[in-house]
Amino acid sequence: MRARHSLYLFTIPALLVIGLFFVHPIILTFDMSLTNFKGIGEAKEVGWRNYERIFSRDRYIREIWLTLWYTVIVVSALTVTGLFFAAMLHRLPLIRNFSRAALYTPAMMSFVVVGYVWQFLYSPLNGGINVALRDLGLGGWEQNWLGDPALALYSVAFTQVWMFTGFTCAIFLAGFAGIPEEINEAGRLEGASSWQRFRYLELPLLGPSITVSVMLTTIGTLKTFELPFILTKGGPDGATRLLSIDIIDNLFGQYKFGFASALSIVMLVIVLAVAFLQNKILRDREHAQ
């Protein structure tokens, strides 16, 4: 057993780094959250006042729910699209390389560019989507994609899913690659249809991939900031104001570092809680297979 415990030596480089670059800053952030620090200069202790404010105001509670809901939508959609494309591409080796590269390309662009192009497409006046609908004779379906409070969140979610489908697809393709050929052969010999093979043979074996994909996309989406910010800046009137956007606004727009730190700690706690819950559920499911 000693041989096995010495295995922990392997974790030392990573732990050192994480300690220095994450644990230390988080402790600093927590300290800051108990002050009214402005980002520079002196910080004055104010105790728990920042946290009291967060939990007593509608605005921040709403943002938390909005962020959670947004994450649910995006992660579900990403998992479905990723699985769909991966399953298809796994069976279509001819176009697999090209398609995978194509799906990946949106993720390779920088956020500013993606944001601008999609803002253009979504523009209610002469944007790409509305003009296309008009040309196809579906003018009645034109919408104010980013300006209608009821739609804005879903439009932003759509862009996010568009951007990251390549990621989840790549994770699932790696998972598919790990499924031994014999299993597929056996299924085919038994006369199972493509769908049946997917549902009963491949899906269960994709357990680890699904876990990784869901957890990573969840954490990433909970923290997401650039894309929603560039598309709507949290508008119209807060309809897409995710927690991360308010944190940045407080941090760099209003220089309320202390308060923004408190919001960051709250966000951190939420992300960790969700991550652990997910981890438990997904790993239990994996072990039950």
Partner: protein, 407 residues
């Protein structure tokens, strides 16, 4: 042989070393890149020619990234020699003691326009050398107006409404009124009386927006514009004011766009776009109200490595002919008295309003209105446009709440 080489090498290295005994001036600015050159590349060359012992390295950092990237350097004692700042940063960094006092005895200090001088001086110290005052008002597509028989840009509320009706009848989109910025310009121009109550009184909570006659009237004026078919509030509320709205104007799809004069460069790039820059129609003036944004300036951080070279940089910009290059590229006005006007002809209506004294300094840029109020204006005015018939106090009360929170 080897010895000769060695000596030659050492001599050469020595020469190179001597030639490089230069000061490298580290300048950070949110102008001077490809997108907003502001004449800086040319000015840098001129400065280096006049100061052969100084080499200027300009690093472009966008305004929103300056907040992330410069404070660590200030606190770490490793700041740039010169940094661009605006009033918010002067307040923040200067308040924390990280900027050098340039001295109210500087030759250019007394030449500052009094209103600007007042804003920029804190506690008897002047921590910034202001570079520009930039206008905000209406961009007006003269060709579209000509189509409905109007020859001059509207500068009164009546003229504006008349223009809107005429344009709407011809099926031309009259006006952009996005909640995030254009609408704010109109609301501000009709709520702040240049000869009346100082905006600072609202900002400190001494006065409430909710009971204020001017701002209530301003919101009513917005409804008047809607009635005159200037725009569809539900459609415009969430429109992006920074990329989409100017694009519509450049494409000639809309006649009137409230925006800042910094767009003049890109608008003039479009062939065949015949436009003017006019002041905002306001209840307080017959000439239209010019909304001047107090722009950025240069500051020298406290721990700068080459303060004398930094000072030389500032003195360079204090020379009128150099500042003029900057202002012309920027489409801005000088914050100093007596400078020659560099604005193009298409801004004639705006310049005329300024000359007639019909102007206010935009309160968000002078910090008369606190920073959090700016995002609240953006959000609440968008909300107001989405729900145009709701009572004024719903919107105005939000402003008062934010002011109170900020105290």
């Amino acid at each position: 042989m080897i010895r000769t080489f060695g000596i030659a090498a050492t001599l050469t290295a020595g020469l190179i070393g001597a030639a490089q005994a230069q000061t490298v001036l580290d300048v950070v600015a949110w102008k001077g890149n490809e997108a907003e050159p502001a004449g800086l590349p040319g000015l840098i060359e001129k400065f280096e020619a006049a100061h052969p012992d100084i080499e200027v390295e300009l690093t472009y950092v966008a305004r929103k990234d300056v907040d992330k990237v410069i404070p660590p350097r200030l606190q770490g004692g490793n700041p740039p020699d010169v940094t661009m700042v605006d009033s918010a940063l002067v307040d923040l960094w200067g308040g924390a003691g990280f900027l050098t006092d340039l001295g109210t005895d500087s030759p250019w200090y007394d030449r500052m326009v009094p209103a600007v001088r007042e804003v920029m001086t804190s506690d008897g110290q002047i921590l910034v050398y202001p570079l520009e005052v930039i206008g905000m008002g209406n961009f007006v597509n003269m060709d579209l107006l000509a189509n409905v028989g109007i020859e001059t840009a509207p500068v009164t509320l009546e003229a504006l409404k008349a223009a809107c009706q005429a344009l709407a009848e011809e099926g031309i989109a009259p006006m952009i009124f996005a909640g995030g910025f254009p609408a704010m310009l109109f609301v501000g121009a009709n709520g702040i009386d240049p000869k009346g109550i100082s905006p600072a009184e609202y900002g400190t909570g001494a006065r409430m927006f909710v009971e204020d006659a001017n701002f209530n009237a301003s919101l009513d004026a917005v409804r008047d514009l809607v009635a005159a078919e200037c725009f569809d509030p539900a459609l415009q509320a969430g429109l992006d004011p920074w990329a989409t709205a100017p694009q519509e104007f450049r494409a000639g799809n809309v006649a009137i766009l409230p925006q800042g004069a910094w767009n003049i460069g890109t608008f003039s790039d479009v062939e065949g776009l015949n436009y003017q820059f006019a002041p905002m129609p306001s209840a307080f003036s017959d000439h239209g109200l010019a909304l001047d944004l107090v722009g950025p300036g240069w500051a020298i951080p406290r721990d700068a490595e080459h303060p004398e070279a930094a000072r030389a940089w500032i003195d360079f910009f204090a020379e009128e002919e150099n500042l003029r290059v900057f202002l012309e590229a920027e489409g801005a006005y000088s914050p100093y008295v007596g400078g020659r006007d560099t604005m193009p002809d298409l801004a004639a209506p705006y310049t005329a309003a300024r000359a007639a004294g019909s102007l206010i300094l935009w309160p968000f840029s002078t910090l008369a209105f606190p920073k959090p109020l700016q995002s609240e204006w953006e959000d609440s005015i968008t909300g107001f446009l989405l729900n145009i018939d709701k009572p004024n106090e719903d919107t105005l009360q939000r402003w008062d709440d934010v002011v109170e929170d900020n105290l």
